[in-house]
Point group: C2
Chain length 330, copies 2
């Protein structure tokens, strides 16, 4: 992961000192400096044991890592540089101290990758299930944050990684349990579910690029996130089914299953967005030069806000959680 540091430094060498000095961590609140040049980005997410994660599919270490990853992905979707995080955790008696240590270790490992500092939190007791709430704070150059409402007719839709790998990995875990056995290819899917890597570098390229870009992270599946972009931008999104990037470990799956995972799977933490057609080539080259994925998966049209799947010349309306109805293209 050392590459990420080098790359972020390349984008903006002044970022390291702009992060500022944190003080007061021993107090109930943390204090850190800010600047006129950068905007603050903040988000929070809660994971409930038995609802958002299960101990038979994730280790404590992975639960921690993922709890932070969800938030870092939200920052990445804004094009921000992750800087700090706070952890509030309600711990039931069913968790041992060692398991809790592992959970923090998982968070710490991802945090170090992004040079994030843990600056506060709250650990409390509960009688039932573990509830993990992470607040993440990032920085983005003034006016450079990326939002969902920037898509326009004529734009192309892109993805910065595979869609559906996390959901496919989860299904494998349900089938075979936490310890498998998994083939080498299956292991990649399982890993994508257990230890997803937020697309911070990708977000930074997209926020520092001087182009009109709408952006979202794929936390609830491509269908859901594309619908959010379409609604926020008041535009019609057309996704070409044969352009969705599907991990090679899923190539043997039936086409329908691949599509189900890709559109409705969620937790991939890749980025989805739009860019004007004339700017797509430049971005693609920039991504590919450093070995990152940038896949054009569709285009934006005038029309009622919504998402459609174009498959063998047929149009299917794609709602957030499933297909709605069929419609002839043209």
């Amino acid at each position: 992961m050392e590459d990420e540091f080098v790359f972020i430094t390349k984008i903006s060498p002044e970022e390291t000192y702009q992060k500022g000095l944190v003080r007061g961590i021993g107090d109930d609140a943390a204090v850190y400096s800010s600047s006129d040049q950068m905007e603050q980005v903040v988000c929070v997410d809660t994971m409930v044991e038995g609802v958002h994660f299960r101990r038979d599919t994730l280790s404590p270490y992975q639960i921690g890592k993922k709890g932070l990853a969800i938030n870092v992905s939200d920052l990445a979707a804004m094009g921000a540089i992750p800087t700090y995080y706070l952890v509030s955790i309600a711990v039931p008696p069913s968790w041992t101290e060692e398991e809790l240590t592992q959970l923090y270790k998982g968070m710490n490992e991802l945090a170090e990758t992004h040079r994030m500092d843990l600056i506060g939190g709250d650990t409390v007791s509960t009688n039932d299930v573990l509830v993990l709430t992470v607040t993440a704070i990032g920085l983005v150059e003034r006016g450079k944050a990326r939002y969902r409402d920037q898509a326009k007719a004529g734009d192309l839709i892109f993805l910065t990684g595979y869609a559906g790998t996390s959901a496919a990995g989860l299904d494998l875990l349900f089938q075979k349990g936490l310890h498998g056995p998994f083939s080498i290819e299956e292991q990649e899917l399982v890993k994508a579910h257990q230890e997803p890597l937020p697309h911070v570098i990708e977000g930074r390229i997209l926020s520092t690029a001087n182009k009109r870009i709408s952006l979202n992270d794929v936390s609830d599946g491509v269908a859901s996130e594309a619908n959010e972009l379409a609604e926020a931008s008041r535009a019609k999104f057309i996704i070409k089914s044969d352009k969705l990037p599907i991990h090679k470990a899923m190539h043997s799956y039936p086409k329908e299953k691949q599509l189900k995972y890709a559109l409705f799977g969620g937790e991939d933490f890749v980025l989805i967005g739009t860019v004007p057609k004339e700017d797509a080539k430049d971005l693609e080259e920039e991504f590919h030069q450093i070995g990152l994925m940038f896949e054009i998966v569709g285009f934006v049209e005038e029309g009622e806000p919504g998402v459609f799947l174009l498959e063998e010349n047929k149009m299917k309306k794609v709602e957030k959680n499933g297909y709605n109805h069929f419609k002839k293209r043209g």
Copy 2:
């Protein structure tokens, strides 16, 4: 509460525009501007139903209000201006939508008092008890945040309000239930428990005063917070038992009970701190001029870090959660 606005404006007229414009709330993260002049202050607290609050002593409205108050009090203890908050909530089926609306209404009411904006959050399902996590963000002028480690021998110890009222109110609620009946005086104690008001104005006076001040909020009782100050400052704190400000509704209580509430009660959300002896008079006058409490309750000495209660010429060591042993003064 309108007075608070006027007063905050008086302290620092540029605060309103420094708060900046919030954008991106529709996205998974919020973006807001920051400045070179102000430092960011952030804190998070979690309340678990059945552990930190009970529905037979607090209404949903009060649970919300208190959930935010705990965090605003942490900001007040740093001398910060509260600006934004984020709410993560795990909701079990036992809570109705109306109760949840009331909870948010309680938070909103306190937020409006301090002109705080809700800029994000996460609402998730859980099967057991409600878990409320609030992240609060504030601003303080660069270098003006107040910490715990500034006390020195010769300083005086102050409180900005009554000690023990919240605990006394809680005991009344346990005895008589949520709906009483309570005498007029008892109602004040009950209200102090159910709807405590964080001492933001007091914190602002103390952070903008050009004096060496250590500061903490009384969330876990005077004994616990004074011990934190003493430990952080490596100093010995002497509290005079007859100087602790006790609410008039508790004057009829036995002396021992008054002291128990005051020292070990918690959740009063007043501020405790230290100031050099020669600066105490100025501060006291500033507080009293606008009708705020500023009570000198003891002094700081050289010695092993710890807290002692001076009562009728006897010294009692006060640990965070109780008395330890007796010791003759002198």
